[in-house]
Symmetry: C2
Subunit: 387 residues, 2 copies
């Protein structure tokens, strides 16, 4: 697995059970996954030479993130290295414009979109806003994550023009999208094997704050069976159309007219962490089974409701000192920490609670995540509730 | 964790989630756990110098097996190393005679037993058989496991005398025990923290063939609530009386007059592998929580019935080639392989199935384990069913 983040770290748990020797290409020896894997290669997963060295002796290469350049993956494939997903599929998770063009052509509901050419970006933005109204969503075509690389513009005036000019000056490719009036955000997670087998997890609701996912509720509460099946089929169809091998996470807007695609990822995804305890087969095991062309595992839920809450860094870096309270308060909550340096707002772990009652399970997950972040105050110092 | 076997390997899965950096002292770099842990020290866990070097920088030392000499553990403790369980408790899992004396004094039901002195072993054995009848069970006081070090003697004649003389000649300490007429074997698994908190898992039935555990059924079918609670309390009482820190597995005979103690282990135990999927807290996480003095986790079952079947080595070492069938046949069965060289009869992994119906769940686990061992024949070549 190229990339040494928490996704590779959690993949190692599944690899241990399957007896699959996992090698990780990590940027540094203390990367999240490098701490827990015996076979670590330290190198640059954006550099072809490092990728080639890393790949020697591996049966299959897969990815912890979208940032390995497509040209490098193609170069590996040309020398016979099995990359799953392959460069052709992965392009759609790496380049938002390529994704929008392909999905729209395939008939998948997407927001209206347009590329902003480096010459004439501001007039193009203004024209788009005239056609589709404001707010509009400005996006970096490549490299964004966790709300980075996305700007919601309430109006298209001088401030917007200055932002666009500044971003172009940094060398970013930009596009603009219609701002979708959504009821909530949901996500579909599916897997596809080289053999062509598909498996779909229940549709989940994802709760975002400031562009960062804070909570995932499985299954999405009150989602109609029709809409759930439509969203699963949409994701399975995209996986098939794009030839994805491994996991495909499709972030969706739930709208009055059905699901609309927001983003794609082709790897284990934050919206699927709940599956470690909440599904018979975790997304990490499923990804390994898919990329190794093994039959896919059951996606049956293990409880009526599962809630995953991300643990974000607070001000006090010693998150472990808060274990005692969290574990004593709720002996059934499951804590996952990623071994990452605590920085305010950074995803450093997650917690999972399961049960029958949605409100109760949400409260349990929320409590554990808030306490691990903030301790007994349960809120950031100086916030209104806590002032 | 001293020892690099499958118990340390599976402990790593729990350590990854908790964010606990696990260091392993392995006998060889390709030991089961050494394959999956970043911080491996290769050394001899029976050698005090290697143990001292290993312990430097560890907060707590715990054990993958019972074979670290008690004197060495005591020496570590004398220099301030936290060993959990400590030497005083662990002695009762290392020396069957010490265990029998202590438990009997504590009023715990045990078989009648006697040490066989090196001088006069055979007359002592004959006297024991006269008092308690035959068969009798001859045991090595230290070092046995998986049926090794245990001999059931149907009669005490010349053959028995020759066996005893031979074993004494190999330097073994021997004891003899009454052969308990049991209905079946069950096991109690509990945890105890330094703080004194205790947690008990449901009582399980263990199925043995030729002294090797082949199957664990959780909870033990048809066990009365009274007997289940009695067995849990017995184990919690032993853990408390002996000052165990970490897990304590108590192998029990179910008899007409209640549970009788067979063996003790103070570590994750084969009879608890089912907890990885079948309990809210796996025994591996529980052991870590206990030895780190964290609040213990919920032992609530996740399904009405969980069955674990050990995968033993067959004749064909390529167990992975049989994955495809097992996973396709039953997408919900969970496979755990230990990365160990396949040798006939050796425990190389286990499978777990969960569900509502005992017969169905047993059949699913049995099928997966048998197929992984033997492939499509499902039986050893030349066995009656397959001849």
């Amino acid at each position: 697995m190229a990339g040494g983040g928490q996704l590779a770290r959690m993949t190692q748990q599944a690899a241990i059970a399957l007896g699959v020797p996992l090698r990780v290409l990590a940027g540094a020896p203390d990367d999240s996954a490098a701490q827990v894997v015996a076979d670590v290669r330290v190198g640059n997963d954006r550099a072809l030479d490092d990728l080639r060295t890393f790949a020697k002796g591996c049966d299959v290469i897969t990815f912890d993130h979208e940032h390995v350049p497509g040209d490098h993956i193609r170069a590996l494939e040309e020398t016979g290295v099995a990359c799953r997903p392959g460069a052709a599929a992965l392009a759609h998770a790496q380049d938002k414009f390529v994704m929008r063009e392909r999905l729209s052509a395939f008939g998948v509901p997407c927001p209206a979109f347009a590329r902003l050419p480096a010459a004439g970006a501001v007039p193009a933005l203004e024209a788009f806003a005239r056609d589709h109204g404001t707010p509009v969503v400005l996006k970096a075509v490549r490299g964004g994550y966790d709300g980075k690389g996305v700007w919601v513009l309430d109006s298209v005036g001088d401030d917007a023009a200055a932002l666009v000019t500044g971003l172009l000056g940094q060398g970013l490719d930009l596009m603009v999208e219609e701002h979708v009036a959504f009821r909530r955000e949901i996500a579909a997670l599916v897997a596809r094997s080289p053999y062509g087998q598909g498996a779909a997890y229940p549709i989940v609701e994802t709760v975002q704050e400031n562009g960062i996912c804070t909570e995932v509720i499985a299954p999405a509460p009150g989602l109609s069976d029709d809409l759930a099946v439509a969203a699963q089929n949409l994701a399975l169809g995209i996986a098939n159309e794009l030839g994805v091998v491994g996991l495909l996470a499709v972030e969706l807007f739930e709208t009055a007219t059905g699901p609309v695609v927001n983003e794609l990822a082709m790897r284990p995804h934050n919206s699927g962490h709940w599956t470690i305890e909440g599904s018979r087969t975790s997304q990490f095991e499923q990804h390994l089974r898919a990329v190794l062309d093994l039959p896919l595992g059951s996606t049956e839920p293990t409880a009526p409701v599962t809630v995953m809450a991300n643990v974000l860094g607070g001000d006090d870096p010693d998150v472990y000192s808060r274990y005692v309270h969290v574990m004593a308060h709720d002996p059934a909550v499951k804590v996952h920490l990623y071994g990452k340096e605590v920085r305010p707002g950074r995803k450093i772990g997650h917690v999972t609670a399961l049960g029958d009652d949605l409100a109760d399970v949400r409260e349990r997950a929320r409590h554990a995540a808030d306490y691990l972040r903030w301790g007994p105050a349960m809120k950031a110092p100086g916030t209104k509730e806590n002032a």
